[in-house]
């Protein structure tokens, strides 16, 4: 059947996250951004919602959601509505857990997955992006070379979230031209966490460059063992996560601009009563909904076990453009207020522009 109604359970989860976003994330996000510091209390609370655990099968200590990606998309939209930096922080453990779930060996799953159902926020992170114009997840410059029973990793990574405190890194590298992933413990010789990066947005989330200078890991650290990973499959889970976050961010900007336009009086009536503003809002609403449904479909296909690369890529591409358009128009509708940092819309504009870059920075 074609149907557009979440299950009762999904609705409940979405409502819970929505409340968390409204009450907890929205009360701290602006200060977190200005101070460039993660409000860990809120991140921990967000973690304790158990969204990741819900997606992990019961065999590995989780709750085994029947539609983990669809449910993830619903939750990610709400987190994205709350704040992108905090949402990404809350989702960082998934960057390690989900690749293990989707591509790990049975042993890797048994070893690592149960800890992601713990109350304590897992100190893990993943490194995919490389600091160059020609970055391509399918053709990395970071290399992994097999030497006997070990792999030697060399290269440079960027946009690695929470790397300063991470105890376990999932590091993507090209092995014979194919992208593979390796589990690397903190303190591995040759692994250096660089300076904290300075980005245009999501400033509350600390990200780092990573230098890999001949880092040696045992062969067993290779995700998926001999089979390795299908990077594209993992990227699809990232694409759909980014799309869902973008929908949430855009919805936040749209709702804010809509309320502003209804309350801001100029020339004797609310500016929302002018067609130029009203039509902008209408188009924002239409595009948000179109991308939301595209994201749901992509998520649903992943849950069905389909590859769905096309759907995931298109949902994400459309989401990038949509979120930017919506946030930019929100700034425009607020006029001068849109440009100052006491209103949230300029932040949403900066964050929205990030979606095009954030490969692998979120996953559901």
């Amino acid at each position: 059947m074609i149907a557009f109604s979440p299950t009762e359970e999904q609705t409940l989860i979405a409502e819970t996250v929505k409340r968390f976003a409204r009450e907890r994330m929205r009360s701290v996000f602006r200060e977190a951004e200005e101070s460039s510091e993660l409000p860990w209390e809120v991140v921990n609370k967000g973690w304790q919602l158990g969204l990741l655990s819900a997606a992990i099968p019961e065999d590995y200590g989780g709750l085994g959601d029947a539609q983990p990606t669809v449910t993830g998309a619903l939750a990610a939209e709400e987190l994205g509505w709350g704040d992108l930096a905090l949402a990404l922080a809350i989702m960082v453990p998934g960057l390690v857990a989900l690749p293990i779930l989707y591509a790990g060996t049975e042993e890797q799953k048994r070893t690592y997955l149960p800890r992601f159902s713990d109350e304590g926020y897992p100190k893990v992170t993943a490194a995919l992006i490389e600091p160059r114009f020609r970055f391509d997840p399918a053709a990395l410059e970071t290399t992994a070379v097999r030497q006997g029973n070990e792999y030697v990793l060399s290269g440079r990574k960027a946009y690695v979230p929470l790397a300063a405190g991470a105890e376990l890194f999932l590091i993507y590298a090209a092995e014979k031209g194919q992208t593979q992933a390796f589990l690397v413990e903190r303190g591995a010789p040759g692994l250096t966490v660089g300076e904290r990066e300075r980005l245009m947005g999501v400033k509350a989330l600390d990200t780092y460059e990573l230098a890999l200078d001949g880092v040696r890991v045992p062969a067993s650290a290779r995700l998926g063992g001999d089979a390795g990973i299908d990077i594209n499959r993992l990227l699809n889970h990232s694409r759909v996560a980014l799309a869902a976050l973008a929908v949430g961010l855009a919805r936040g900007a749209y709702e804010y601009a809509l309320e502003y336009a209804k309350n801001r009086v100029a020339f004797g009536e609310p500016i929302a009563q002018r067609q130029s503003i009203a039509f902008m809002l209408a188009e924002m609403a239409i595009e948000i909904e179109g991308v939301r449904l595209s994201t749901w479909e992509a998520a649903w296909r992943l849950d069905q076990g389909e590859e769905a690369t096309r759907e995931c890529v298109l949902a994400r591409q459309n989401a990038n453009a949509m979120a930017l358009m919506v946030a930019d128009r929100a700034v425009q509708i607020l006029g001068g207020h849109g440009y100052i940092r006491e209103y949230p819309v300029e932040l949403w504009l900066r964050n929205a522009r990030g979606f095009a870059t954030f490969d692998g920075l979120a996953m559901i």
């Binding site: 109604s5 391509d136 009203a278 188009e283 609403a285 909904e289 595209s294 749901w296 096309r310």
Partner: protein
């Protein structure tokens, strides 16, 4: 019912049938009917009539004989199924699709507002031996989007109404009045001073004296379909041909007749959107096919710096098409669920109109010298496409409706 995107088997079946018709009957003649404007595609019509007249395939027909409500309850996929069929037939040829026999908009209005007796009386012709068409006549030379400016009058004369006025842009008016024992639902005012409250729908049957098709518009596209001007000169129709109450009910709460008409738009806008998206899909498939022949396949997921301009464009076409199609499915699904889809119906119409316009226009450019040539179908699809951003509410009118709904404004607050 969880979120799901699997087309039900029952729909897949009828879509397969529609695909056969589209491929074997419509496509081979699409260019012909485009070049021979206003010739009637009888092959298609005769192929479709047995299907349409036997089963509630197409739209409002499933409400005939007064069983509409029951029917709807038994099969909560009526609207979703319908848009799938319309999409497929428009993939075949939007011009021929618009000639699909059946009650269409006329029957939809009767089904929505008519009494059980009226439904029986007027709709049985759409189950007869010979193809018949229903149509709707609303627009007038001075009244386009602003339907309240209608000047056609209906004056009571004993057991009759006497209609006078001129209607334009009546899709299928000729098929309904001249080529079959069909009917046209004509909107007229019983009280010019009452504005929308005075506007009522009247059933005008083929053969009514004083009713003439005066003109068929030459058009940019959808040339198989007739867009008729209809002149009503002292056209007398029985009193009980009025749909709904003859009373002029003033402003608040009232406008029932007019609201009835607006209500049918909630059902028909997703249908127009689906038709647009059939054209869009045809275009995308054609472009990809031609690119494939040139050895070009779209590398989904390649980073921006590796993509060609054409790849990025095709991906954008597909993304816009998909978003529009999902919006359309949702609007139809909501109807099937008995939910108010007024907002969603306009949303999908806006998006589909935009998407098909952009997709077809870009496709002509991408194909270069082939795109602009009538030896290839893409230029025709560009011409056919544009109507979808205009009829059943222009893109602007539908944006206005969306804006009013999301802002909670009346039509007075947001003009």
């Amino acid at each position: 019912m969880p979120i799901e995107f699997k087309t039900p088997g029952a729909i897949q079946q009828v879509v397969s049938m529609a695909q056969m018709v589209a491929e074997q009957v419509m496509r081979p003649k699409a260019a012909y009917y485009d070049e021979h404007e206003h010739e009637i595609p009888w092959e298609y019509i005769n192929m479709m009539w047995p299907i349409v007249s036997q089963s509630p395939l197409l739209g409002a027909d499933d409400s005939r004989n007064g069983h509409g409500e029951a029917e709807r309850k038994r099969s909560p996929i009526t609207n979703v199924r319908l848009i799938h069929i319309v999409e497929m037939l428009s993939w075949g040829d939007a011009g021929q699709y618009l000639c699909t026999p059946g009650g269409n908009l006329g029957a939809a209005a009767i089904a929505a507002v008519g009494t059980p007796e009226q439904k029986r009386r007027f709709l049985s012709r759409f189950q007869g031996e010979k193809p018949a068409w229903g149509a709707m006549a609303m627009t007038e030379p001075q009244a386009g989007s602003d339907t309240s400016a209608i000047k056609t009058t209906a004056v009571r004369d004993g057991d009759f109404w006497v209609l006078n006025g001129e209607k334009i842009f009546c899709t299928g008016g000729r098929l309904a009045l001249e080529e079959s024992n069909g009917l046209v639902v004509v909107w007229a005012t019983v009280d010019p001073k009452a504005g929308r409250a005075g506007m009522k729908p009247f059933v005008v049957e083929a053969g009514t004296p004083g009713v003439t098709v005066t003109k068929l518009e030459p058009k940019l596209g959808i040339r198989a379909s007739d867009t008729a001007s209809i002149l009503l000169q002292d056209a007398r129709i029985p009193f009980d041909h009025i749909l709904g109450s003859p009373e002029v009910i003033s402003d608040t709460g009232g406008e029932k007749g007019f609201k009835g008409a607006m209500k049918t738009f909630d059902a028909t806008r997703p249908i127009v959107a689906a038709s647009a998206l059939g054209i869009a899909r045809a275009t995308i498939e054609y472009v990809k096919h031609l690119l494939n022949q040139e050895g070009i396949t779209i590398r989904y997921g390649a980073p921006l710096h590796q993509l060609s301009a054409v790849e990025l464009e095709v991906m954008d076409m597909e993304a816009q098409h998909r978003a529009a199609w999902l919006l359309t499915q949702k609007a139809a699904w909501m109807m099937d669920m008995g939910l108010n889809n007024n907002l969603e119906a306009s949303m999908c119409k806006v998006k589909a109109g935009d998407a098909v316009t952009r997709i077809t226009q870009k496709a002509v450019e991408i194909l270069g010298p082939l795109g602009y040539s009538r030896a290839h179908p893409v230029e025709k699809w560009m011409r056919d496409a544009k109507i979808n951003d205009i009829f059943e509410g222009t893109g602007q009118i539908n944006r206005l409706i969306v804006a009013r709904r999301i802002l909670g404004y009346t039509s007075r607050e947001l003009k």
